[in-house]
């Protein structure tokens, strides 16, 4: 399956081509170049998936295939960084997700970004992102993951800051990069610690049991009372949390909505932000085997983040931000699913499958939601709910597809979200009923805020528009329709046949109790949302907002997390560390050097006084000298 190399190389070449020669091309040509090459990549990805999943299982599991691998950099005999392609069920699944969403976004952008300055640059960056994301998921070793991890970070930075003259976009891009970079530091240290003990970067060597002996030995060693492997994996989770916007590193994601909407759909909803989940899934074997404690932390962080951002999502008015918080919440679901696993086999590791399943369906319906939101923004030129309302008449296709996505995320059967979410809830209940109920409540909240969004956009009071909103062009609606279809039918994919924690075949069966509970909760939430927001006058929410003004205000301000960060970075790091250090450097260290110079100088000045130019003084000193010497001679003799 060497052709998979093309999947990786094509976007890279396209990036270089569009980046270097793009400004000489016409907009349309550049866009078509990008889209066609990505179409090719998508076809190859599907072909790969087909070939991979139809190949015979060995011992009941799909084999890990490394069709291509070369040594890129060598640190020592054991530690060398390879760049290669590792095909296993989750990476193949990710190939499909990435290429599909990316293709949709490429097509969509042809219409959405039409006439923008820097159109070629946009496509170049998209190609760069696609390349890095693909490189990330097919990584054969953890260091390759890290390399592409950084690259997706930078492509995200570049794309968020696409409108580089807009101060908010600049700030957002900077924030996104720095927060994730901070998290990456954790990831890097995690890699260092892990590789120090395991003496290998390779996933295959880490996972196939050959390193177990070493790792078991390492697991007994502790640092500050915690096992070194728990440190390593915990630090890696910090990296994952940064990319996947887990609390408290989530602050960059809502701001990242400053980028073009298709970018938000691709990077900040469907692919890059789930890289953290992917990473944990990738290292799942190690988490389960050597650091189950870390998994519990992951579950708790995931659940908290999920709840937290769901609450915030209920009060935001910028539609993209609502979606952003919803994304954070959904990623929280995936993290919870991974965290609640207690073993490798299909039942204890149900969450693993559920998480990957949800990753897949979520990528589709969230991309759909974002692209739909983009279509709406394209029509009304605003992100704010108050500028919308009653759009269902003007934008039927957008309306229907958006509704489908809302139903999916709310967990209404038979849409895809229902199935994946149900598996997660089942896993959570199995782990701990409290966790299960929490997640169910969050699922209800999800349904509520999504329908709040939906009603505010498409129903309710019509806002005054400069010109009548109209349905978007075909380049925009076609991706919407395609994604809607996937969203409708995606749930029926027998996911357990492809991906499970132990690789063995597993038939998904719905737990009726969990399913009914979640559907009931979802329907109730939708009903509440309908009552609240469908009418033109939204009296109840206004009243509730007044009653709970404290909570409401805190939620609107995103619980002041941004302010805390602002305080830490500006007041503490800038004002209390950097400025004093810079001052210290200029005045103490440099001052010391200057002091040495100036004291030498003043010493010279004081010595220079002897050379006063006054003859009499010289004569006096001279005489004294002679008298002294003669006196000395006389004394000696």
């Amino acid at each position: 399956m060497e052709y998979t190399l093309i999947i990786l190389l094509l976007p890279a070449i396209m990036f270089l081509f569009l980046g270097l020669a793009g400004h000489k091309l016409k907009h349309k040509v550049a866009g078509l170049f990008g889209t066609i090459s990505l179409g090719l990549v998508t076809c190859l990805s599907y072909f790969t998936a087909w070939e991979y999943f139809t190949s015979p299982r060995v011992n009941g599991v799909f084999e890990k295939i490394i069709p291509f691998n070369f040594e890129w950099l060598s640190f020592s005999e054991a530690l060398h960084v390879d760049i290669g392609i590792l095909l296993d069920p989750i990476s193949v699944m990710m190939l499909i997700v990435i290429s599909t969403v990316s293709l949709m976004v490429h097509i969509y952008s042809l219409g959405y970004m039409h006439g923008e300055k820097g159109f070629q640059r946009y496509y170049a960056f998209l190609s760069l992102f696609t390349f890095s994301m693909l490189g990330l998921v097919v990584a054969t070793n953890i260091f390759q993951t890290y390399i592409f991890w950084e690259l997706v970070g930078v492509s995200s930075y570049l794309l968020i800051g696409f409108y580089y003259t807009k101060p908010s976009a600049i700030a957002a891009s900077k924030k996104a990069f720095i927060v994730t970079r901070f998290a990456d530091l954790g990831f890097l240290i995690g890699i260092l610690v892990l590789s120090f003990y395991s003496q290998t970067f390779s996933f295959v060597e880490l996972m196939n049991g050959s390193s177990d002996a070493i790792l078991t030995g390492a697991a007994t060693q502790t640092f500050l009372g915690i096992g070194v492997l728990s440190w390593a994996l915990g630090l890696m989770f910090i990296g994952a949390a940064g990319k996947s916007a887990m609390f408290p590193l989530h602050i960059w994601l809502p701001d990242a909505m400053e980028g073009p909407t298709p970018v938000s759909a691709l990077i900040h909803a469907a692919t890059m932000v789930v890289a953290g989940v992917y990473l944990v899934a990738r290292m799942f074997y190690l988490y389960i085997g050597f650091a189950p404690g870390v998994l519990e932390i992951i579950a708790i962080v995931g659940a908290f983040t999920s709840l937290f951002s769901a609450i915030i999502a209920c009060v935001q008015t910028d539609i993209k931000r609502v979606l952003a918080f919803s994304t954070i919440s959904q990623i929280g679901f995936m993290m919870v699913a991974l965290g609640v696993c207690t073993g490798m086999d299909s039942h204890e590791g149900l969450g693993y499958m559920a998480s990957m399943f949800h990753l897949f369906t979520h990528a589709m319906f969230k991309a759909l939601l974002f692209l739909g939101a983009g279509s709406i923004i394209h029509a009304v030129h605003s992100n704010e709910m108050k500028d919308m309302g009653g759009l269902r008449k003007f934008m039927p296709i957008t309306h229907i597809t958006f509704l489908i996505a809302c139903l999916a995320i709310a967990g209404i059967p038979p849409f895809s979200g229902f199935f994946s979410k149900d598996e997660i809830l089942a896993a959570a209940f199995k782990f701990n009923p409290a966790m299960g109920w929490t997640m169910t409540v969050i699922a209800g909240l999800t349904a509520f805020y999504m329908f709040r969004l939906y009603f505010n956009i498409f129903w309710g009071k019509e806002a005054k528009h400069h010109h009548t909103p109209h349905e978007s062009p075909l380049t925009i609606t076609i991706p919407l329709i395609i994604l809607a279809i996937v969203t409708i039918f995606g749930g029926f994919i027998p996911f357990g046949h492809f991906i499970t924690s132990d690789g063995l075949l597993y038939n998904i069966h719905l737990d009726p109790q969990v399913a009914i509970t979640s559907v009931v909760v979802a329907v109730l939430s939708i009903a509440i949302a309908t009552i609240f927001y469908k009418n033109k006058e939204q009296k109840i929410p206004a009243m509730l907002g007044e009653k709970l003004s404290g909570l409401h205000k805190a939620a609107t301000k995103k619980f002041y997390i941004d302010e805390v960060y602002q305080f830490i970075t500006h007041r503490i790091i800038f004002a209390c560390i950097s400025t004093p250090i810079a001052w210290f450097d200029r005045h103490i260290v440099d001052g010391f050097m200057n002091l040495m110079a100036s004291s030498t100088q003043s010493l010279s000045y004081s010595i220079r006084k002897f050379q006063s130019g006054h003859v009499q003084q010289y004569a006096f000193v001279f005489l004294l000298g002679i008298i002294f010497i003669i006196g000395l001679i006389l004394l000696v003799i």
Binding site: Q611, S612, G613, H614, V615, Q616, A619, F620, L623
Partner: protein, 103 residues
């Protein structure tokens, strides 16, 4: 008691020290030069005295004094020329103010 070497030497020493004192304390350059004459004279006397008392059959001290007088004349001529020149330029003979070269 005969007049001995020492007596002459006492005179020349007093002269020398007066010259030294004058050289160190006078402000006027010419006055300093005059003090220098005293010093040189003291030396001259010593030459003559040593020659006379210690080596009466030779004339080294005598001639040394002779040449010294000649050289002093030359020195004085040049020094005065310089001093006058300085005076023309800075309108003073105060030695404390002659420190332009320092800067």
């Amino acid at each position: 008691m005969e007049i001995q070497v020492e007596h002459y030497l006492i005179i020349s020493t007093i002269m020398l020290c007066a010259g030294i004192y004058g050289f160190l304390v006078r402000k006027n350059t010419l006055a300093m030069l005059i003090s220098v004459e005293l010093i040189l004279n003291a030396a001259d006397i010593n030459f003559a005295v040593f020659n006379k008392f210690l080596f009466p059959n030779q004339l080294e001290g005598h001639f040394f004094t002779l040449f010294a007088i000649g050289i002093v004349a030359a020195e004085t001529a040049v020094a005065i020329a310089i001093i006058i020149n300085i005076y023309r330029n800075i309108q003073t003979l105060n030695v404390d103010k002659m420190d332009k070269l320092k800067h």
